[in-house]
Symmetry: C2
Subunit: 236 residues, 2 copies
Amino acid sequence: METRRTSSSRERMIRAAYELFEQRGFEKTTVDDIAARAGVGRTTFFRAFATKEDVIFPDHDTLVASVRERLAAATPAAALVAVTEAARLVLLHYLAEGDLARSRYRLTSNVPALRAREISGQRQYQRTFHAFIRTWMTSASGEETDAGTALRAELMADAVVTAHNHVLRQWLRGRTTTPEVDFDAAMAAVVELFAPQPAAERPGPGETQVVVLRTQRDLDDVLPELKRVLEGGGSP
Amino acid sequence: METRRTSSSRERMIRAAYELFEQRGFEKTTVDDIAARAGVGRTTFFRAFATKEDVIFPDHDTLVASVRERLAAATPAAALVAVTEAARLVLLHYLAEGDLARSRYRLTSNVPALRAREISGQRQYQRTFHAFIRTWMTSASGEETDAGTALRAELMADAVVTAHNHVLRQWLRGRTTTPEVDFDAAMAAVVELFAPQPAAERPGPGETQVVVLRTQRDLDDVLPELKRVLEGGGSP
DNA sequence: ACCACGCTGGTACTGAGTACCATATGGGAG
DNA sequence: CTCCCATATGGTACTCAGTACCAGCGTGGT
């Protein structure tokens, strides 16, 4: 099969690149070296990978696309779980890679050019999440594009990507053996940060807001203070 | 003066680069072109700027250093204002640049290589803020390195940088004429997000939490509901 | 047998970035 | 005034990433 041959030579180039980068280092390895070790021509390499750096992130475009698809398939009501599941998609991919992911982490940690490339790639995830969260937030909280909402969407997209990276890095460093559990916790923290109703938000005229209290003090002790606060707020 | 001559030729190279990039585009402009227009040799260009991209971000290292210094000079009690002021330092720098900043924005928006470079640069700000916020948070909330705290520090550093970029971008696009006011609002939103006591945190035994309420309803109407909620919470 | 098409490898070119050397300028020591 | 040293500069030659182009080769269809 042609596709199998193509895929095979592509796989060989990836393996050759990782091996050579680990042995000689990224800068000391030329594309000719990689192509020669993979048994292909230099032209073939650049047909499969646009740049020398790209061979380190072979599944990047596929992963970003799968995230986009997962988000696109979500209903507005299930937006939060869609975000979590889309991020989990990425995490599971890296977990499945195993040693390859660890090798990549070693390279990106030591080679500035590769680190820069990785950061650019992460930005693509951020943009994807941002686009989804923005439309979700603006459609959920009125038609007008609130300035605060726009910023919140951006912040939340950042938080999702950073939380994912945080857990992944912990696993790559061998700091945890339960990355999925950590991931759930991290995403829960993110969702809590950006929960639909933050406490300090002031309600508009005509709206009512009920804030849940839990206190150790006797209710009768709290009431006068509450009353004072509420009257100070300007509402009868 | 030598330093003036050096500074002058550096300025000439920067101006020449911006002009040529705007005219012919980034890829169609060679380093030789820039050097020739600036009246210097190619060697001199690479002595002043490590890469062709770097000429677009001439003050980057200086800015990052000034942020680091501002943060280093902060007392733990004034950590939040230090973060805000450090970020404002960057904003004010770009505001002072004026048209140059707009020209850079145009370039980074259209040239992928320059955009990637900019993103890497922003990551340096994020790392700087992160290092500061991490030590601040861990020293403020106990000695042990809490996993949740580590993530929170990272998220907050992201938020600071993103909030700054958000406001700056609004100004670069001509969407606002009061960037400093917007900046204060954005930073306030960030600080509120990561304020020491987020609303949804459950108080430990013996602690008391008072939540500010503003409501349009009559207080007597609200009280029964509050009482019900409080008793449902398990506290007498 | 012939042709059309897709994949491949080779060659030649541009241009970024590096290494090295030669020169000028400028200031200080004698 | 002259010698000397340091620093900035310009030029040359080289490596290598990335691009463009062309030629071969197998496969499949007619």
